[in-house]
Amino acid sequence: MTHLLRSAWVVGRRDFTATVFSKAFIFFLIGPLFPVLLAGLFGGIGARVASQAEQPRVAVIAPASDFAKLAAAREQLGEAMGDRPIVELVEVPPRPDTQAQVRDLLASKHHSVVAVLTGAFDQPRLTGAVDEDGTVAGQLGLLLSAAQSGPKPLEVAPTARSSGSVDRTRSITAQTGQMILFFLTIILAGMTLSQLIEEKSNKVIEVLAAAVPIESIFIGKLFAMLATSLVGIAVWLSVGIAAMAMFTHDGAGSIPAPAVGTAAFLILTLIYFAMNYLLLGSVFLSIGAQASTVREVQTLSMPVTVAQVLIFGFAALAVGSPDSPMAIAGAVFPLSSPLVMVARAAEKPELWPHLVAILWQVLWIALVVSVSARLFRRTVLKSGPAKRRWWKRAAA
């Protein structure tokens, strides 16, 4: 046992230093910035395009004074609705033949309106390709009544928090926790796999296998990448807290504490991340042991990745209803358990379910790691095109 652990330490230490002191690790650290930037950039553009596309135009045939009231009401409603699309109004001065004017406007490609509002405030009438109970009709109804009665003064007495706002924020924390766990695990398992394939292709694996038990290689690699990820998490957390301190009033304190408390949540998140990674990482390593080229790895790991995405979707259903049968099923199923339980930690204060879940997950990790390590031992040195692998035999 001592020899096994000592050898795992030697292998793990090499992998850890080789990864952390490489240029690729800098990209790993700044990696999360890219999705944030891309989301910001494309999200903004997309939202604007979507908003423009979804904003229906309505021609308003009314005197200038009536239109001004309607336009003012629209501006107020627009502010209250935030980013949601609101009907766009086009001012059209009235002509003697209103019916003909309506027909012309609906046919006109220049104005490109979905409907025409006539009759102003006395007898408002909407003509066009809209439903009676639809959004356009509903919004115009609100605008007309707001334009007629004017804005109602509303006294606002703000409080720091309410149960509704805390629940909402905790749900966001739960979702964020799940997403971080999911993406980080997928990235790290992929990195572990790449390293193994690299070692197989540059034949280092035989040097290792001749000197130390294969199980040590497996365990060393698995835990080296876990340690690497913890370095990454520590950096991201520090940067995140520093950014919040710079850009928000109360810093990290502005976020409502997760249900189990901030410290406990962070510890549980780390534990569940480790559990999730060890489960998926060992499956990926045993896949890597069977493959000798990147193409084979892609073929073999695709089903696992797709399955993991489905599991992530399943676990996401638990957010917002941690005691639902779906959430309990997700907590029991070993592969989704860490994801479901991290969400629960954000939303429910009891700690004992976490203790039970962690023990349950440890049991499964022991099982999966042991089976994967055995598979790894059997297959890792069988490389090269000479032998047909089981999936090729099955395909033949």
Partner: protein, 319 residues
């Protein structure tokens, strides 16, 4: 100074023993009943053409793979990995991390065998300097030439001062100068008491270095013993040139003799050289030249493993 390993090597003791090793890969039998004994402190060669089963045999001996049946004992251990700290191994397909610095690569290989990293680095510096690579100690492996990288890997196999060195095709890919250096290093290690096993398909290396050999063909041991024993399986070879083309002396030439131009080549008859000489002289052969040669290992290999296996072997440059 003899190493710690040497103190374990007692005359007549085997450093490595294998009995009836069999290894099947699916339907293919790669190793078929291999038995061998490597005396402690000796240089032992595994000879055979490519695909004969040498690498698989070495992998089994090292515990990288388990045999389908049979037993092995390495430095007194039934489980070879238990002896790993006292073994150095150079695989046929060399493996180094391209981004690692030379001294770190050597120290890492030592660390895998239980040598503390700091001590490994210290020894790595010494070894690199001793092999003319001192300036490369802090350069990444990827910047080295193939021969230099091979030297670094070789230094990594001896950095922990093993009692047993297993080298799989160590001369492959080396130029003549580096081959000579490697031969020198093998002799030096053996002199300090290290047991060395190496596989090769170049007969000349085995002939120059080995005390004992195993000839492997199609997964089986065709011969195992001292190099001289292998040679002794053949009778000495006679090469004869005569001034006369024909005459009574022709009756002294054995039936299986081959003729290359004016030269006759045949095995020395069992009666020995004297009756042959007498018959040639009395028969008026007019002897121009006559040489009686001891058969080389290549001749022995042909006799033992057959022409087909020998055709895949490299005789190697004569030195």
């Amino acid at each position: 100074m003899l190493r710690q390993a040497a103190s374990h090597a007692r005359p007549g003791e085997y450093a490595v023993e294998a009995k009836d090793l069999v290894k099947d890969f699916g339907d293919m039998r790669a190793v078929d009943g291999v038995s061998l004994g490597v005396p402690a402190g000796s240089i032992y060669g595994l000879l055979g053409p490519n695909g004969a089963g040498k690498t698989t045999t070495l992998r089994i001996l090292l515990g990288i793979i388990d045999p389908s049946s049979g037993t092995r004992r390495v430095l007194g251990h039934e489980r070879p990995l238990d002896a790993a700290p006292r073994i150095g191994y150079l695989p046929e397909e060399r493996g180094l991390y391209p981004a690692m610095h030379c001294r770190d690569a050597i120290a890492f290989m030592g660390a895998l065998r239980g040598l503390p990293l700091a001590e490994g680095r210290r020894r790595a510096d010494e070894l690199l300097a001793g092999h003319g690579l001192g300036d490369w100690a802090r350069k990444p492996i990827r910047t080295l030439s193939k021969g230099m990288a091979q030297t670094v890997q070789l230094l990594g196999t001896i950095v922990h001062r093993p009692a047993l060195l297993v080298l799989d095709e160590p001369f492959a890919g080396l130029d003549a100068i580096n081959q000579a250096r490697l031969e020198e290093m093998i002799r030096r290690e053996a002199h300090s008491g290290v047991t060395i096993i190496f596989s090769t398909h170049v007969i000349a290396h085995a002939e120059r270095l080995c005390e004992r050999i195993a000839i492997i063909a199609k997964g089986k041991v065709a011969f195992e013993g001292a190099v001289d024993e292998a040679r002794a399986r053949l009778r000495p070879i006679v090469r004869l040139r005569t001034r006369s083309d024909d005459g009574p002396w022709r009756s002294a030439i054995p039936a299986g003799a081959r003729r290359h131009g004016k030269e006759w080549v045949f095995e020395l008859p069992e009666s020995g050289p004297e009756p042959l000489l007498k018959a040639l002289i009395d028969g008026g052969a007019g002897i121009e030249t006559l040489a009686i040669e001891r058969p080389g290992l290549h001749d022995a290999f042909v006799a033992i493993a057959g022409d087909k296996a020998a055709a895949q072997m490299v005789e190697g440059p004569a030195r």
